[in-house]
């Protein structure tokens, strides 16, 4: 047998970062099958199927919109209907929160598979994030339709939307691999996560406009990676002016969160099989 055979080395150090990345490309088919599985399992034997995924951003937007439409925390200084204003923040937010929520348990709930077979580990949370982004498409559609019905014209600036959504997905993924890895070590995280997400939601200008925050404290919003995404979406959809400074600090915060997630994941990925 003269053919060239792929040689792999197993040692304590493990493969380098580049060959790990190459492996993810090799296993892209697995990502696809996991996403299909996730969607099938989630919606099989339901009558409404994927329509349920629309409820997540839509229902809170309608309820909160009805409750708070006349109160002060509305879209101060803009003519956007409050429910629509809410929805424009809730669509990216509910994507992030449902992605992080399901991805954070990806290692623990698939522990059985992790301890029996090797594949690049981050595929599991990636599959949860991709699944969430499929559901996200529905939310986006509702948002866009509503925006157009409300009389906002399609503008060139809308081309920014995919960029924000990709950032949104990447942020969700990198945070998730960190949280999912930590969750293997400290199972408390799974329990604490709903509360943390709740706090994070109120810390994001979804229900309110940043203009409601006193000028002195407004920079604090920039520490939140979701601020840039939510404000960016609103700015291009409704033509609300975009606070560049807030956007840049928020992007930096997102970068820092992503790096933290990657570092945690890289540290823990090889011990996972022994800890789950």
């Amino acid at each position: 047998m003269g053919e060239v055979r792929l040689e792999s080395v197993i040692d304590a150090k493990g493969p380098g970062l580049m060959s790990q990345l190459a492996e993810y490309w090799e296993y892209r088919g697995l990502l696809w099958h996991l996403v299909v599985k996730e969607l099938k399992v989630r919606y099989r034997q339901t009558t409404l199927g994927i329509v349920w995924s629309l409820a997540q951003p839509l229902l809170p937007a309608l309820i909160l919109g009805a409750v708070f439409s006349r109160s002060l925390i509305g879209a101060k200084g803009s003519s956007v209907p409050y429910a629509l204003f809410l929805l424009s923040g809730l669509v990216p937010w509910s994507f992030l929160s449902s992605a992080v929520n399901s991805a954070s348990g990806a290692f623990v709930s698939n522990g059985y598979i992790l301890s029996k077979i090797y594949f690049p580990r981050a595929i599991l949370p990636a599959a949860s994030v991709v699944t969430a982004s499929v559901e996200f498409v529905g939310g986006c559609t509702i948002l866009i339709v509503w925006v157009m019905v409300a009389g906002y014209a399609i503008r060139l600036g809308w081309m920014w939307l995919p960029v924000f959504f990709i950032c949104n997905a990447l942020l969700a993924f990198f945070i998730s691999i960190g949280i999912a890895s930590l969750n293997v070590l400290y199972r408390d995280i799974r329990h604490a996560l709903p509360f943390l997400l709740q706090v994070w939601m109120y810390a994001t200008p979804i229900l309110y406009s940043p203009l409601l925050v006193p000028e002195k404290w407004r920079w604090l919003l920039g520490l939140n990676p979701m601020t840039g995404i939510v404000l960016g979406c609103r700015s291009v959809l409704f033509g609300i002016p975009f606070d560049i400074r807030l956007g840049i600090t928020s992007a930096c915060a997102g970068g820092a969160a992503a790096i933290a997630g990657i570092v945690i994941f890289l540290r823990l990925q090889h011990e996972m099989a022994e800890l789950v």
Partner: protein, 402 residues
Amino acid sequence: MTLMSVKGLTKQYPLMSRSEEKGTFLALDHVSFELSAGEVLGILGSNGAGKSTLLKILSRVIRPTSGRAVLRGRVGSLLEVGVGFHPDLTGRENVYLSATILGLKSSEIRRCFDEIVDFSGVEAFLDSPVRVYSSGMYMRLAFAVAAHLQPDILLVDEVLAVGDAEFQKKCLERLRKLGSDGQGVVFVSHNTVAIARLCNRAVLLDHGKLVSEGAVGDVMATYLLGDTACAGERFWASHADAPGDHVARLIRIRVCDGSGETRTNVSVDESFDIDMEFEVFAGDVILFPSVTINNEWGTAVLWSTDSGTPSHGRPRQRGFYCASVRIPGDLLAEGTMTITAAMTSLAPKRDHFSAPDAVRFLVTEGVDGSTSRGVYTDYINAVVRPKLDWSVRYDPACPLLD
């Protein structure tokens, strides 16, 4: 060609006691071996010997603490059947999902999909969720997927512990085929019969250390018979311990081949000798030295005494005797055998000594077609396995009915 070389592989675990580290535990301790193309390597060892740890490291599920393994070619691992199956997905969907998890590409799965379904024999239920499958169907489908991995190196752990006889047979045949196709297989099992049939070579692990390596028969004998003094040979150095009375005493009993070498294992088609050395103290007794071979269920397979020798049936002179009996090949079945050596006189019947299970040895059998089982791979429930003359006459039409 070497497919895999393992050097000094070590896995250390901290020993925890109330979440404080209390020393360490070596699950694998500097294990080294090689696997060549076309070789089926068995890994033997009792529970906790480190077999599964070794396989998990080789399949990259966990990392070694130190040491190194180089693997050439595509590695398939089968640490469990049905990994990645989801009860709510249909058989078809599960085939795709689990095959991708095992490392197959979608195009490869499509190519061998029909073959997988054929092998599993569950066509009719392919579009039902696997939660409605019987456990047998589930197993068959899961293994069918795994069996169609086309790796250069296949790592298999205890897969045969599950499933019925039919299923186990299929597994074994599939693994054997891989070996004969020039791939390498590393096979961990408690099923020593399966290991003996499948493997060319074996290694024995004990508390994380590799204690024996070589031909499967030798390693298996070391494993099954242990380090006990009764593997292949037993010798009583002092009068005090030896079985016997004032008439006769047993000195040594052993299993040996034609060249006089002591053997702990023999092939099923190989003839061998049982040597029995004894001393006689009383010169006027008619003594019958005998051996009984017992199989692992305690059934006495054969009994034999020294009939046909000049001293048979006559009073023996005082002194030292070595009685040797040739056991022909193609007589015993495979398994662990024990020999009982006895010395009896009649009228009145008295056992001067009887050493039950004095010696243990192993009879091994391959499935290369040269033994009486031919290429039949299944378990044979018979006490002896003689090679008999068969003749088969063939007629396309039955001549008894016109």
